[in-house]
Amino acid sequence: MKGSDVTITGVSKSFGDFKALKNVSLTIQKGEFFSLLGPSGCGKTTLLRIIAGFETPDCGEVYFDGQDVLGLPPNMRHANTVFQNYALFPHLSIFENVAFPLRIKKVPNKEIKERVYTYLKLVELEAHAHKKPSQLSGGQKQRVAIARALINEPSVLLLDEPLSALDAKLRQHMLIELDKIHDKIGITFIYVTHDQQEALSVSDRIAVMCQGDVLQVGTPHEIYESPATDFVARFIGETNLFDGKVVAVEKAGEELLVTLDIPELGAVKVTTVDQVQVGQTVSFTIRPEKIAISTEKPKTTRQDINLYEGVVDEPIYSGFQTKFYVRVSENLILKVMKQHSNYSDEGPEIEWKDSVYLSWSADDGYIVEVKS
């Protein structure tokens, strides 16, 4: 596998009174597409800049393939960055922008030409080589920035919110392009984003960050299905999140079937592998798309089904799906997502003020944190 593994141990960084990073440790594998995900101000960009060499951490270490790189200036590290604002050199043509690292290294002209075109072809911009950056569209500039960052054949590519300046459609397209490039080149990608959708769709693994801490590291599936904290559950996708008291625990095979008492909602059954005990307070999450909604009472006799009645407070139609805010009790509204799939998806349309039944299986809920 090409690329380097990147190990970060105990890195902290403060700007004045503001603690941007608090004792962060991460291990990023060779060739991995690794995302740093978090809201603005969570320290993800600071961490990326430390890896690139633009910032020096107050303490901690950064290793590429086991070699300490903190003493090295940015130009000596085998990592290149794709900047958020592209940072293309306005006085140089696209060709010269991409050729810049090779010119610095005084590579012979013939080889420069060959290599620049190799990478311009990779990003499908070979026809624009003679243009100035100002003549390109945002998406094209982004691709130049990627080609320029790759031409030195770095072992780590750092991407600082590279798609944030593009419109939604183009973003989707570029994301697929990035993934393809990553598959082709196979070096380590470290991708900073605040957009959970982006991170979920391309990453091998994600680190969710908040206020200078890494809250969870895992595959997109793990992060979405088994969030480690309330923050992660709320930040990744939409969810219904409540605190509840454990009132009963019984063994169900490898797992535990737990009954929670959630004020306003009532008894909720949920399976978990965590060790929970009666009397503890836990936070509980159920994703909107896992809740079934129907106007007729579901005909099931399964014991692990949670069933509630409610009234549609607000239906939000968005083409392929409808989101319902369903009032289950006076102070509690559940978010429910219903996909509009195909002909078998019949039944009367659910409308505003309809009385509905909400149901989900105990397996679909998830206990996030044990609080006390």
Partner: protein, 315 residues
């Protein structure tokens, strides 16, 4: 369709005031100087209205040539030093959080009269000046050091005088410069110095151009500084003109020397503009270097090098 009746071209009318201004205060004096330089010298100053090349013939003497060369060399050295000092100043100001304060500090000297500031330097550098007093008080020197009345002191004071004129345009262009480009350059393998020369300087070319003009042109015509700070061997063209006007009362010669200054500075400006154009053309050529590539060459460009292309793909 009804034609727009009111759509008259008022352009020349709007340009009127500025045209009048230029004619009165720029073109007319210049024409007068050109005319005077081609006339006979009046007895007590002024000119006699008779064509003569006497003034230009008088230029062809060794003293004058020496002074012209000295003026040119002094101006070039002073300009280069000014720019070298102004560049880091402008850079620092652009990056600073106290821009307003620093700008104020640069502008404050303008609040004091030009001559007063020249005399201030005499007070500092004079044989009984502050600097010598200080040196004597610390026991570093016994008597005094002759700082004034030489070429070096003239250059020092000229640099001081025209530094703000270089700092301001440089600051304003560097302020607009996107500093993340320097990080990008460093990231792509450039050393700190390379990031400055290959990315910062080409992007602030217009500011550099302005700064050079704003310092070179006034320094080339300098009068008061060489007169007050310089010695016998630091006479510059400006001083010769003044002498011709007030002492020798040879107005045509004074006009002819003025013409020399005008021509040299104009040529200087054109040379700089040509250099700029050449730079731009070079950049274009470099771009064409990419453009002239044939399709075949593009197609021949290797796929991502093998060393860079693992067999396995993703982990």
């Amino acid at each position: 369709m009804k034609p727009a009746l009111s759509k008259k071209n008022y352009g020349p009318l709007y340009a009127g005031p500025i045209a009048l201004w230029f004619t009165l205060f720029f073109a007319a004096p210049l024409i007068i100087i050109v005319l005077y330089s081609f006339m006979k010298k009046g007895l007590h100053g002024g000119v006699e209205w008779e064509f003569s090349l006497a003034a230009y013939e008088a230029l062809a003497n060794a003293t004058f040539v020496t002074i012209t060369i000295r003026t040119l060399v002094t101006s070039i050295i002073a300009t280069v030093l000014t720019i070298l000092i102004a560049l880091p100043c402008g850079y620092f100001m652009a990056k600073s959080k106290n821009q307003t304060l620093l700008l104020l500090l640069v502008i404050i000297p303008f609040w004091t009269n030009f001559l007063i500031r020249v005399y201030a330097w005499i007070a500092i550098l004079g044989n009984n000046g502050f600097l010598n007093d200080f040196l004597k008080a610390t026991g570093l020197v016994k008597n005094y050091i002759q700082f004034l009345y030489n070429q070096e002191s003239v250059i020092l004071v000229l640099v001081y005088m025209y530094l703000p004129y270089a700092i301001l345009p440089l600051f304003s262009t560097i302020d607009k410069f996107d500093f993340s480009l320097l990080e990008a350059a460093r990231d792509l393998g450039a050393t700190k110095l390379q990031s400055m020369t290959k990315v910062l300087l080409p992007n602030i070319r217009s500011g550099l151009f302005t700064a050079v003009l704003f310092t070179f042109i006034p320094i080339f015509g300098a009068y008061a500084v060489p007169l007050l700070i310089g010695g016998k061997d630091s006479y510059m063209l400006g001083n010769v003109i003044a002498d011709q006007l007030t002492k020798t009362r040879n107005w045509p010669l004074a006009a002819a020397i003025s013409m020399v200054i005008t021509v040299v500075t104009t040529v200087g400006v054109f040379v700089m503009m040509a250099l700029q154009k050449r730079e731009a053309r070079r950049a274009e050529e470099a771009a064409r270097f990419g453009n002239t590539t044939t399709l075949e060459e593009i197609n021949n460009a290797a796929e991502i090098p093998d060393s860079h292309n693992p067999a396995g793909g993703r982990p």
